[in-house]
Symmetry: C2
Amino acid sequence: MKAIKVGLLGIGTVGSGTFQVLRRNQEEIRGRAGRGIEIAMVADLDLARAKSIAGDACEVVDDARKVIANPEIDIVVELIGGYGVAKTLVLEAIAAGKHVVTANKALLAVHGTEIFAAAHAKGVIVAFEAAVAGGIPIIKALREGLTANRIEWIAGIINGTTNFILSEMRSKGLDFGVVLKEAQRLGYAEADPTFDIEGVDAAHKATIMSAIAFGIPVQFDKAHVEGITKLQAADIKYAEQLGYRIKLLGIARRREAGIELRVHPTLIPAQRLIANVEGAMNAVLVQADAVGTTLYYGKGAGSEPTASAVVADLVDITRLHTADPEHRVPHLAFRPDAMSDTPILPMAQVATSFYLRLVVADQAGVLSRITTILAEHDISIDAVLQRESGEGEKQTDLIILTHETLEGRMDKALTQMQALETVLAPIVRIRKEELA
Amino acid sequence: MKAIKVGLLGIGTVGSGTFQVLRRNQEEIRGRAGRGIEIAMVADLDLARAKSIAGDACEVVDDARKVIANPEIDIVVELIGGYGVAKTLVLEAIAAGKHVVTANKALLAVHGTEIFAAAHAKGVIVAFEAAVAGGIPIIKALREGLTANRIEWIAGIINGTTNFILSEMRSKGLDFGVVLKEAQRLGYAEADPTFDIEGVDAAHKATIMSAIAFGIPVQFDKAHVEGITKLQAADIKYAEQLGYRIKLLGIARRREAGIELRVHPTLIPAQRLIANVEGAMNAVLVQADAVGTTLYYGKGAGSEPTASAVVADLVDITRLHTADPEHRVPHLAFRPDAMSDTPILPMAQVATSFYLRLVVADQAGVLSRITTILAEHDISIDAVLQRESGEGEKQTDLIILTHETLEGRMDKALTQMQALETVLAPIVRIRKEELA
């Protein structure tokens, strides 16, 4: 059987990894897929670099549309990134009847509905294992491995940059800014790290997982996105004293009223396996009704780990492209006619417990006033930690862990607490999840 | 589209879980699979119990062959277990042109070659996600998710009973026999726990994974199988002092000369994620050339976790049964004509490092004689720990960690050390893996 022909749009880090993996493991891959998989054409603006990676056996062009127009090409791999030209090219590839593989989480989280509808209408596959958690086959696990289950929630460390920074802040007791510079020096953070550290990248991935888990459309605009830039070393330390680690989690959870979809720093019990995921590694924890808790761990980025997912998609398509489109795995796990309109909840209706740190005047009655405000808003307290104030100090840190409450209630309580004269600085508020 | 019809052979724990899951989540499953999945017939010798689980909508018989002979049935689910009648019925179902789903690891590890060949010849699928690590979709991850990779090694905690016992021994400092009784009382160990505690169950699963990872036939008879019955609380304690945990691992590793396939208690660094998998949970660590390290964690047994895997297989078959058999995922990841004859290595050629505990006379020169023997066999020492002997005590414990060596060499060195007059008891030898 002749090899399946692949065209690459963009040959940066992931593209060159895909080349290397397909070349190095071509025999094993053919033995598994039943036919060869061959990158026959590459489009990249940097022709010289593209040629040095692709070699002589592969046509290199600077116009992506030549790849899409080539009737020999069965699958187009989009590795350009972003929502701009990538979107146009993906839609054009679909219109040309090509299957598409993409690692572009931003594109799918924002324009997935349009793209998947176009693919469905045309009977082609858009595969995107590489778009969430890099080399970890989490899309396959959610869409196929856990297909028997009603998924209750997903909580993932799905951004390596921020997990590296948080790991370093904790182990070395350093502040965010210092560690960010270190991460940039080591290549764990980009020169412009905004998308990572502000939680946007994690929110793209959480959005895609929420759609697959609950059969809802991708709705990035409804996601709550909060990064780690305001996190202080003091809070990481206090959390540790209370038995918790702080991780940037992407969370999608089914509640009776709707779906929670949020990315924010989160306290999680230190004994949970996911709390011990360190450095740039990713991990996704899934709670589902039949199987219970499962966890998937691995490298969420990098050239070959991401290529591992791209090639897995190429093999899947190689197997399935002769199959009746109606029998393929649906893009978002559920078939289009079985999608749900369950709403994504506004943050005020989201239920979590909280870690609060208040800088308070060291005088009698302060704790009582604060706990009274919490009680008035039906927020019950789980634990209190008060730092012993030093000799002659007039203020101290008061840390409160609450039980689960609605964010809207906490917002109101916080406004009242913040107004107290004895509360001397902006209150730090970090959400807490038991993940059990 | 009419529902796909399933026949169940045996309706015990997993069978009733499968019923519950299919019934409770039928809408979601239909929304994902594109058609309903319905258990239309059940065979079980205990008719009354079977009827109470299956209800009225399902035909219940006491003769499995009636299920196999029923032309309405598309898929036969074998949940009888063991190598006896289960083998005959699976082969008969295949011969009758039925797809088969089975959770029977013993059957596949021992008779897989015959069964998969029969299925291939007949063009039907034998699906077995539930046979390894219960609800964790590890077969799918290995066969499909990591299909781009050359797999280097797999190390798994794939028996919940023994992991529960080891967790309890460590956390409570108790001996094996005491904890086994507790595990039996709590239902984590069976009345006859031999298959679990002697490592046979883990070896069945490791055998299946080795075939999928390396494209070799299942060869349970070549697996080295060693359980946890001889493990002493003292060794768990010493291991902990040295920074290690002891887990029963199923290991399959590719070496230049062949494949290592072995189950035995293993020291692993305490900071590895897999070292922190506690209780009856399972976890499989996979090292592969493109993706690096990935880990899959969840419940390895139980009614609904196992049913989660059975139903995932039913959905896969529902999707694929109309596809050309040549385009399906091969049973053992590689297509039959791409299988390899790489041999499984005898233990003497297996490379690991070792933990040794010697009870030695507390006198000068003992350590020197022992280290000389190790050096003579080219075994280098990583760490030594000597228990301080108590007042008037004439013997002490000497713990040695070695660097990697061949098991054959260690056997020879052990024979010589054991013969020393100053070595007062049988030497304890536990293998150690860094898993990095």
